[in-house]
Symmetry: C2
Subunit: 356 residues, 2 copies
């Protein structure tokens, strides 16, 4: 197999700390499964870069990255230094938009060795996938302000939902549901309050459902859906949602499953016209940065999703089994404080690499 | 004291079932505290009315209701019969908008006798207020569709945030925080992704905070905030949020506190130019309608908020104490199935009225 090129962008905050562990495990997987992977590091898409260059990325970022087979990404954002909307719209959200990574896929699973904040939930009780539309919807860049600085000041922003954009996300979600035993799909809506875009979303869900008669489809308004995540997380299988609702559900879901420190995500361009991007859900977490206590499993699990996307299902599986085993063992000298241990980012990363 | 007139609108679904219990308790409170309250019933703002008249409310609804001192509201919406955006924008959302009920106030408290789905949480651990902006934001009525019925179809909806609208909600929230022992306020944002309106929200929060130097202010993106509700519900005191984010947080919060069946809300026009509206958070719940098992505490607690708003703090307090006592007693013949009992809507309502 030809060498596959991976662009590594650690970004900000704990992205810098968990990425080395992600790479450690990726390299261990490459060794064991004889994969030909190369890693090239980029320092842009970080607030350091911004402070030096006045922008988050060089002008030619797209041409520099588009030849890669995947982007392995840490986290971006240091709100004390650069406003979040500047850092994110100058980096991550550009990747999603310009590399047409229109699916954000986020597994949510309660693992052995991880304690759920929910009472009486055991591994196996929580196991679902959030499929998030990742390029449009509430994350638009259309709008602006008027009457600035006066009492009449207004800010307006548009939510844009296209049939093209919704349908391809729904199709992915329905196909995914078709591969899973429960064959069930839940759509997040808010058509009672958000009266134009959300009824349109519902219409497209109903239209798509006619092509998948063997999938059970239900739909909940986002408010009650978040309540159900807490009350009945066992009822979900594939959850499909707009950009914003998917964002919310894919933090809430992992929290219900114990910690967002371990949650992975894949920003996919399913047609592989552009590189897909793999990043942990946790973000840059400035509050714990610098202490070397960040849980690297989100980064490592995202790496497993990357291996899978690159065609190395066996290696991906081995990585998942490795961190599952290490977490289940729950050696307190190894696991990080968020899981109740005294380990560091590195002890946990090394243990997983060794296990492989 | 002059007689106070209350418009009663039971609406749809379990609104019809819980309203009689709400009224039973209101009347018991009026007796005991010698309040002069009158109740007038309206059958509009319901899907029955819609099916008879082709609209949710008569044209002159505003003039018929604006003389009342308060609106006591059940729930509206029967999506199998009338699309939710039609029923809600034809009723509840009109009240909020035209009676300028710009604050939606939603207490969230874990009560004795109620089991939280969160592990190791006891009464006292969860006790906060969600202050929701209630007239603008994501619930706009501006937008539309283009290229209908084609592959290029688009739906666009605007989020509108005004300084006037944001500031008055923030002021209410800061004032409320000033009356509470923790003196702390959390703002829900999503300025990293929603790049125009949400940074504006943040700016207004920062501006308002300068007037309240003794209030500790923090701000979380909505995704991580929902995670924190589950992981650390004890850290919140007053949470202020936009219309949509407030909607989500005020379902999620009560779910963390055991059940949305008991959560109350007040849609306030603080200046009292128009009647305020008091309704349970749970909605019409078509799935349990007709079984007489709906928990009436949300309706009753909303009634207590109404009494308070009408100037009867002592009576309001007595109602709260009455349902707290009945819930704490947890007599399984009395309490409803959502709380683990075999009682009915009526047994629970009667027990609370008797207690008064
Ligand atoms: C019914 C719906 C429109 C309403 C809302 O979203 O405001 C409800 O969920 C609420 O919270 O009062
Ligand atoms: C950082 C932020 C813009 C981003 C998002 O909202 O998409 C993050 O929360 C995520 O979920 O990947």
């Amino acid at each position: 197999m030809a060498r596959q090129r991976i662009a590594v962008i650690a970004g900000d905050g704990i992205g810098q700390e968990v990425m080395p562990e992600g790479l450690r495990v990726m390299k261990a997987a490459a060794d064991r499964f004889n994969l030909s992977l190369s890693f090239e590091h980029f320092d842009f898409a970080s607030c350091d870069y911004y402070e030096q260059h006045g922008r988050m990325m060089p002008e030619d970022w797209k041409s520099r990255l588009e030849g890669f087979d995947a982007l392995y990404f840490g986290a971006v954002g240091m709100p004390e230094r650069v406003p979040d909307h500047v850092s994110l719209w100058g980096s991550l959200l550009q990747f999603r938009r310009h590399f047409d990574q229109y699916i954000n896929l986020r597994p949510c699973r309660l693992l052995q060795g991880v304690t759920s904040p929910l009472a009486n939930r055991a591994p196996g009780d929580i196991d679902f996938m959030v499929v998030r539309e990742n390029t449009e919807g509430e994350y638009s860049s259309i709008g602006g302000r008027m009457y600035e600085g006066t009492d009449r000041e207004l800010a307006i922003q548009e939510t844009v939902m296209s049939r093209h954009g919704i349908d391809r996300a729904l199709r992915f979600a329905f196909e995914l549901a078709s591969t899973r035993p429960k064959r069930s799909l839940t759509s997040a809506t808010k058509s009672n309050g958000i009266s134009i875009t959300m009824p349109y979303w519902d219409e497209r869900v109903n239209a798509m459902a006619t092509h998948y008669p063997d999938i059970t489809v239900d739909s909940f308004h986002i408010d009650i859906l978040t309540a159900r995540f807490v009350m009945h997380p066992d009822m979900f299988d594939v959850v499909v949602a707009s950009n914003l609702f998917g964002d919310i559900l894919s933090d809430l879901g992992p929290a219900c499953a114990g910690t967002i420190g371990i949650a992975p995500s894949a920003n996919l361009n399913p047609e592989r016209r552009f590189p897909s991007l793999f990043e942990p859900v946790h973000g840059s977490a400035p509050d714990i940065f610098g202490q070397n206590i960040a849980n690297p499993v989100g980064q490592i699990w995202s790496g497993a999703m990357m291996l899978d996307h690159l065609g190395h299902a066996e290696a991906a599986d081995a990585v998942v089994k490795a961190f599952e085993a290490v977490l289940a063992q729950a050696d307190s000298a190894v696991i990080t404080p968020d899981l109740g241990g005294q380990g560091t980012t590195e002890t946990l990363g090394r243990a997983i690499a060794d296990r492989l």
